[in-house]
Amino acid sequence: MRKEVTLAMGNGGEESSELIEKLFFKYFKNEILSRGEDGAILDIKKEIATSSDSFTVSPIFFNGGDIGKLSICGSCNDVAMMGAKPKYLTCSFIIEEGLSLRDLEKIVRSMKKELEINGAIVVSGDTKVVPKGAVDKIFINTTAIGEVIKKGISISNLKEGLDIIVSRDIGAHGATIFAAREGIELESNLKSDCASLYPQVEALIKNDIDIRVLRDATRGGVAAVLNEWARGSNLSIKVFEEKVPVSSEVRGICELLGFEPLTLANEGTFVLALPKTQSKKALEVLKEFNENASIIGEVDSLYPKRVYLESSWGTKRFLDMPTGELLPRIC
């Protein structure tokens, strides 16, 4: 095969088949995909959850992950946040001609690895190749389908008195992508949090944790999630500022560039609301995965529809929904 993706590889003919056989089937092969039908027929008896997402991140390789890993984590995590186990995915590639096949293989390889972590398979896919400049290197769309293993997780469960937990230190993905962009000549040890969250959700469920509300804090960060919860419930959320876990690398880039860690994107970090009696146990479970998991706040009714921060010296301020352009194509 040539060393680069060519327009011919998206022609639906010989070259397409070669790409599919030698690359995609090599990594994604499974019984359903091998049938080679127009669509996949899935036999699911349980309630299902599904979510679709497109991935356009730039740069396509970053410390802690790449666009392939991200494309699997992203959709699988959305399904996991509904209390479902990711099982099947569809995935479509839009590739700019000239992308090196080595890079493409690297991307597909990380997709496979991430699929294994989730215990999911790709059952249908599509590849288009477009002329130079029509997309930037590669865009990927995935749709995940999962079986619901814990019913009833919903934003409508948010009630006064619930505790809010964050699963690890925040803002790593947003900070990493920012530092990797051109024009910001920064050397750092930043590493994206990009990861599949199903294993953590499964552990919480196995330990009988009474999860009420669950959401991964992607674009807009923890601030966006909490604001959506507050607005949707007509309640307020108090955040203890000093309890919010932030690594010193992320804090550092925020200091230099004037960002707020709470508004930075994450790709493997979630926020959880649950009864206070359950917090300790949930924290124990989550700390097995990341020692920085922390109870960061609680739901009250002091300032309906708002999120507010309380400092260790007793002052308060509102935490708003992030606005304006911070950085395009973060995921």
Binding site: G183, S248, E255, L257, Y308, S311, K316, D320, G324
Partner: protein, 382 residues
């Protein structure tokens, strides 16, 4: 030896116990005064700290902050924003400026709007990135639109220095650098027909300190002596600001009126002499510069010296850059806010017609602007 990390530079200056201890001391000292004290923090960086850390919630009722005009984006009059807009739309021009400028609305639109119309506008963190842009685009005219107080002026001067010494022939400058002491003087001196004097408003100044890293604390010496206003040059972390406030209140309690430095870890009396020299090599003071909301203030801004006319975009594009003054929207009270006679939440369009993503006035644009700080953090004020 313990390795110095970035966080060592700020962690201790945000320590809750220290902040509370200072709050206690301030409250104790302020009780000894039977009057109100209005402290103007001139710099937008201080405004940001005060709002972000909720410091007014820790002060007694008789101690107030007045937010000053120290946000470089906020004080730019609309006609100068229009200059940036017009320049960016010239053929074969790349306009380079600092990120805060992107959303500021002039009379024709913002740079964001110009970009949508096809203008090539680059936002940089350091003016020296302009060198790279110019090198990569030898057939383009690269115009650096310079903004900021004493703090950012030396970096622009360094860029001029490189352009001159290395004979780079495609970088030009539009200089909008302003200086702090002149505007502080103006705020005390000026009279207004609406109220009899600003004189009564400001009792003391929290002096901009990164300005003093460059220009030295000496630039504030006239305020305690000639104007009877004590000045404390304070750092930007909450502990710095609280200690600065305590130092000012003690001056009133002890009947002193002095210039003091709280931010001793970086500020000296003389400042950075090399930077000052470089500025004086290439720049000279303008006779007048119009500040948004404050009007013309003598000697308050820099321009390139006459001998550098050939790289001065204001000269080169003289014919197409308007000089007529353009007033603000009549509901916008940025002028009064910049003078410290109104607070952002007293504006009728604050948070309604004027928000950070659709600013009417300049104070809502920059994160250092008083309105933006109030919008982001300020709703829980006492």
């Amino acid at each position: 030896m313990q390795k110095l990390e970035l966080k060592n530079l700020y962690d201790d200056f945000r320590d809750g116990k220290t902040i509370l201890a200072l709050s206690k001391l301030i409250n104790k000292e302020a009780k000894k005064l039977n009057r109100d004290i209005n402290i103007m923090e001139v710099c937008g960086g201080h405004t940001h700290t005060i709002m972000k850390y909720g410091l007014p919630q820790l002060l007694p009722k008789n101690i107030n902050f007045i937010h000053g005009p120290g946000c470089p984006v906020c004080i730019m009059p609309k006609e100068r924003i229009d200059h940036a807009y017009i320049l960016s739309l010239q053929k074969d021009v790349i306009l380079v400026t600092l990120g805060d400028m992107i959303k500021v609305p002039g009379s024709r639109g913002s740079l964001q709007d110009a970009r949508r119309k096809g203008a090539d506008i680059r936002f940089v963190y350091s003016p020296l990135e302009t060198l790279k842009i110019a090198k990569e685009n030898p057939n383009k005219m690269v115009i650096f639109f310079a903004i900021g107080f004493e703090t950012t002026t030396p970096m622009s001067a360094v860029l001029v220095d490189r352009v001159i010494k290395e004979k780079i022939n495609n970088i030009y400058f539009h200089i909008n650098h302003v200086t702090v002491p002149e505007v502080m003087r103006e705020l005390i001196d000026s009279r207004d027909e609406h109220i009899d004097s600003y004189n009564n408003q400001i009792d003391a100044f929290l002096g901009p300190s990164h300005v003093s890293v460059i220009a030295g604390s000496k630039i504030y010496e006239e305020f305690p002596t000639k104007y009877k206003r004590p000045v404390v040059v304070a750092g930007f972390e909450p502990v710095d600001v609280m200690e600065g406030v305590l130092m000012l209140i003690k001056q009133f309690v002890e009947n002193r009126c002095e210039l003091e430095i709280q931010y001793k870890r970086v500020v000296t009396r003389e400042g950075n002499l090399n930077a000052q020299k470089l500025i004086n090599t290439y720049f000279t003071k303008r006779e007048l510069f119009r500040w948004r909301g404050l009007g013309n203030i003598p000697n308050s801004a820099w321009r390139l010296k006459d001998e550098y006319k050939s790289i001065d975009a204001e000269e080169i594009f003289k014919d197409i850059l308007p000089i007529e003054q353009i007033e603000d929207h009549k509901l916008c009270i940025c002028g009064d806010i910049l003078r410290g006679i109104a607070k952002p939440n007293e504006c009728t369009i604050f948070g309604t017609a004027c928000k950070p993503n659709s600013p009417v006035g300049s104070c809502m644009v920059s994160s250092e602007g008083a309105c933006a700080a109030y919008y982001r953090y300020g709703n829980l004020l006492k």
